[in-house]
Homo-oligomer: 152 residues x 2
Amino acid sequence: MASDDTLPLEEFLPYRLNRLAESVSREFAKTYRDRHGLTRPEWRTFATLGQYGSMTATAIGVHSAMHKTKVSRAVSALEERKWLTRKPDPADRRTEHLSLTKAGLAAYREMVPLAKSFEKELLGKLGAKEREALLNGLQSLQSVLTVELSED
Amino acid sequence: MASDDTLPLEEFLPYRLNRLAESVSREFAKTYRDRHGLTRPEWRTFATLGQYGSMTATAIGVHSAMHKTKVSRAVSALEERKWLTRKPDPADRRTEHLSLTKAGLAAYREMVPLAKSFEKELLGKLGAKEREALLNGLQSLQSVLTVELSED
DNA sequence: TTTCAACGGTTACGAATGTAACGAACAGGT
DNA sequence: ACCTGTTCGTTACATTCGTAACCGTTGAAA
């Protein structure tokens, strides 16, 4: 029974989640950093566009929980790299529809298997039962939090 | 069945962990930010010292996976706040043993129940089974990663 | 004892981030 | 047509952060 005057950080949920997320992300970041020199925000925008084909900047921000300035800068960087193009919206001249160029798509197709095998390897270190528990647990927590995920 | 040319981010482990950690941490941060204006590194150093009584700066860094400069600055800030004192090591004049002052301990004792009830409330939104799954899942992942958790 | 690599901790400086303000475009009402 | 408020996206500025360099100290080897 835990004494009531101390907070054991090792068992404290925010602390645990942070350490895990940091550690896993950092590890995976090597993959796209070494390969293409992408930053984390760049990778996220990139991967979001790869998955969804075409999106506006704000949509990317909402979807990947990134601040809009982060997205803005990531988009510029990817554009400069010729991996991304902007297409004006005929109906609304404020928004731009972003999508990957041919080169961007090529890089994406090359990254997908790497990402998948990274995940597979990581999860493979767990037993089937533990893996199940982890994924289900995350799912439940996620669904509980969906409401509070807004940026501001 | 997932097609092999796309990476569904919503199911991608690093992505999921990040969103959850961010969201939970951000939410909890309100507690110590609103109350005392602590930053995240400050809170972590503070909570670590509260739990362990006395520690060196490097030890805190290792334990809480923070960069040593972060720790250094957090320590200065807490010292200025009169929540923390440094005691020289009689045997090694490079290291300092850090601990909370009386005022720091008072603040800590005040924070502990808040942290616990935050966690309890969050986990309370899950069913017993899901909670079990989450905690076990995190535990397994954690133990798989312990080796790779070094900072550099 | 002198030398030298390694360590604890701080700091300078450049990179990354968020807040706030902004310009341009839209939508609604008058 | 003209306000008024809101939205999309960018940018200026201040803050936070990490890399690298640094200082003083230690221990061990020559």
